[in-house]
């Protein structure tokens, strides 16, 4: 089964901020107008001027970088699509924040027991078969919820139908190997304040390429070191033995 995904159509967004409010009440956060993503704001509708808006939220990557770097597996990719964080496991190393190509995970810098905070694609709703809060409230249909397959198909249908409206690519189709949030952009990613240098492949293999070689390198390296130890040891023993023999012979000659 395909995972769930969100499709955001920039041409339909009127910047009303209903998704922000719905997100905040869904996650028991104080109601406020965000001016960036932070520990208290999981989504942010950015005013780009000229009646253009960009939505920022966790991209819910298909093969998430944060999940691969977390040393304790506190971040997990839910089989339905959301990427979730487990308070019981997290050690607070912040490697997820370092590694995320979209700079999504945020941190409670002023808490003695800080949490990693980010959009969880309303995992509690999605598991009940409901769409995310932001998608259900969106009055213009700018944010849609469905299986990734369906959302991707819809995105390409719109691209084909209104080629003059969009940049021509679906942002998130290939970024970081494909994300669970797909965006139809009227402005380029950099103009929409989205990272435009995200590699067009998934990231976890970059470090896995190194890590997977360790089981090959370490035994060989270990065997070499052990062998060198044995050789040197033997040389010393032989030398000691020869010294002894020499001494004995010396005595015999007397």
């Amino acid at each position: 089964m395909s995972t769930y995904a969100l499709l955001f159509d920039q041409s339909l967004c009127i910047g009303c901020g209903a998704c922000e409010q719905a997100c905040q009440s869904e996650h028991d956060q104080r109601p406020h107008k965000p001016d960036k993503l932070d520990h208290d704001s999981f989504t942010w509708v950015e005013d780009l001027g000229h009646d253009q808006y960009a939505r920022h939220l966790c991209m819910s990557c298909e093969n998430p970088t944060c999940v691969s770097v977390c040393p304790v597996g506190a971040l997990e990719k839910n089989s339905l699509g959301p990427v979730t964080w487990d308070a019981k496991k997290c050690i607070g190393c912040r490697y997820c924040m370092m590694a995320c190509p979209f700079e999504i995970p945020k941190y409670e810098w002023h808490e003695p027991n800080p949490r990693i905070r980010k959009c969880d694609m309303c995992v509690h709703r999605v598991t009940k078969g409901m769409p995310t809060a932001c998608a259900s409230i969106c009055p213009t249909g700018a944010t849609n919820f469905g299986t990734r397959e369906a959302m991707l198909k819809e995105a390409h249908r719109r691209l084909k139908k209104y080629p003059e409206r969009y940049t021509g690519e679906v942002y998130g189709e290939k970024e970081a190997g494909g994300t669970g949030v797909l965006m139809l952009l009227t402005k380029s990613p950099s103009e929409s304040d989205l990272p435009d240098n995200v590699p067009q492949h998934d990231m976890p293999h970059l470090t896995w390429n190194v890590l997977e070689k360790l089981p090959q390198i370490i035994p060989v390296w270990g065997a070499f070191l052990g062998g060198m130890y044995w050789l040197g040891n033997r040389k010393n023993e032989v030398a000691a033995h020869e010294r002894e023999e020499l001494q004995e012979r010396g005595h015999g000659d007397d």
Binding site: V69, R94, M97, H110, T207, V210, W221, N233
Partner: protein, 402 residues
């Protein structure tokens, strides 16, 4: 040898206690009080209260200096033990104990610093039970834990010897040491390189002069280089601070080995930049370019050339000075990867808060304090007169001056 009188040029020179002792001890006490206040703030109000770390700069001075530099500085431990116990260059044995002690204390300080930097330090043991073998951090965590244990076991004979448990010391040396040393080299190979691998996953966030898919190789080779250089620096410092014997001919050989390792490192580093077409950034003469050139030229090429010169290696002060340059150059590299390159690559705004420096300096101070305690009460340095050093040795002459 303390309390002995040296006769030089007709006058009797009595060894005095270091005159700066009062300055340093009061500085130490002040630093510890400040550290305590800073830590209280840290554990009651969060990391944000004592640092300028933020969402766009989640890792800063502590990861760059305390973790990356700290672990790299501890490389002397595995380098020297490998030379002595695996490659059987037994001449270097007098250096093994100080190197193991430095590494052990260094790693303890790294872990102490992590307890400040980790958001939920009481969960630091979690990698033991919650596994994610795909995570470089998971591997680093395991290796640091295991290697600190190895260093503890390598350090234990010092305590046993002091307590007179000669049987146990003999047993450990005969049956445990070779295995421990090999395990130590393997674990160090893994985590020294893995500290570089940590950054392999952020190609788009690290400025091209410092990003490379072979960061693990660069980190490992430079760690060995740094380990060799640190052995010299440590010997010199112990000689200055504790009046210990200096193994001059050995330090010369270490100097030559450092030069070779540094050359290998620089060739890999520059070749790698060439292959990825990143060398052009070095000659833009902007801030990044100057930082890079300072790191490579002043902290790499210059000391390498100097170390290849016999004249430098034969002069104890010049040799140690050059080795300090090597140490600073590689530390600068770690700081550049962790802070400079990340900032340039992401445009993050970060300048360490003074309280961050208090934490880092506090860790160094505690480490030095523990080392001096160990040097005083444990058989860290080989005893004996300066007989096996050559009479005209400049190091010995220097020693006599003290």
């Amino acid at each position: 040898m303390s309390g002995k009188n040296y006769r030089k040029g007709g006058t009797v020179m009595t060894e005095r206690k270091l005159p700066k002792l009062h300055f340093w001890s009061s500085f130490f006490v002040l630093l510890m009080i400040t550290l305590a206040v800073v830590l209280f703030k840290r554990y009651t109000q969060g990391i944000g209260a004592i640092s300028n770390l933020n969402d766009s700069m989640p890792w800063g001075l502590w990861i760059g200096f305390d973790l990356l530099c700290g672990v790299a500085l501890g490389a002397g431990g595995f380098t020297v033990t490998a030379v002595v116990y695996i490659f059987h260059l037994e001449d270097y044995k007098p250096m093994a104990r100080p190197a193991v002690l430095t590494a052990f204390l260094g790693y303890l300080m790294v872990i102490a610093a992590l307890l400040v930097d980790l958001g939920r330090p009481w969960n630091i043991w979690h990698p033991l039970v919650f596994w994610n073998p795909h995570s470089v951090m998971f591997e680093v965590g395991w290796c640091v834990m295991l290697y600190t244990t190895v260093l503890f076991l390598e350090f234990l004979p010092l305590v046993f010897e002091r307590l007179g448990y000669n049987k146990q010391v003999h047993f450990m040396h005969k049956y445990l040491t070779p295995g421990l040393v090999i395990a130590g080299v393997l674990l160090s190979t893994m985590h020294q390189s893995s500290l570089g691998t940590l950054y392999v996953i952020v190609p788009e966030k690290l400025y091209p002069l410092w990003y490379s898919p072979i960061l693990p190789i660069l980190f490992f080779v430079s760690a060995i280089t740094l380990g060799l250089a640190m052995t010299n620096v440590e010997s010199f410092l112990s000689f200055r601070a504790f009046g210990k014997r200096l193994e001059a001919p050995l330090l010369r050989k270490i100097g030559a080995a450092t030069a070779v390792m540094l050359m290998v490192y620089l060739v890999i580093r520059i070749e790698d930049l060439l292959v990825h077409g990143s060398l052009k950034y070095a000659f833009k003469f902007d801030m990044a370019s100057w930082f890079f050139l300072a790191e490579i030229v002043i902290g790499g090429i210059v000391p390498m050339v100097l170390l290849f010169m016999k004249r430098i290696r034969r002069n104890p002060l010049a040799l140690t000075g050059t080795q300090i340059l090597v140490v600073l150059g590689i530390m600068f590299n770690r700081m550049n990867v962790a802070v400079t390159a990340f900032q340039l690559g992401t445009g993050s705004d970060y300048r360490p808060l003074w309280m961050e420096f208090v934490v880092s300096m506090g860790m160094i101070a505690i480490g030095v304090f523990l080392f001096s305690l160990a040097a005083r009460y444990l058989p860290v340095f080989p005893e004996g007169p300066l007989t096996d050093a050559k009479p005209k040795d400049p190091f010995v002459e220097l020693g006599k001056l003290r």
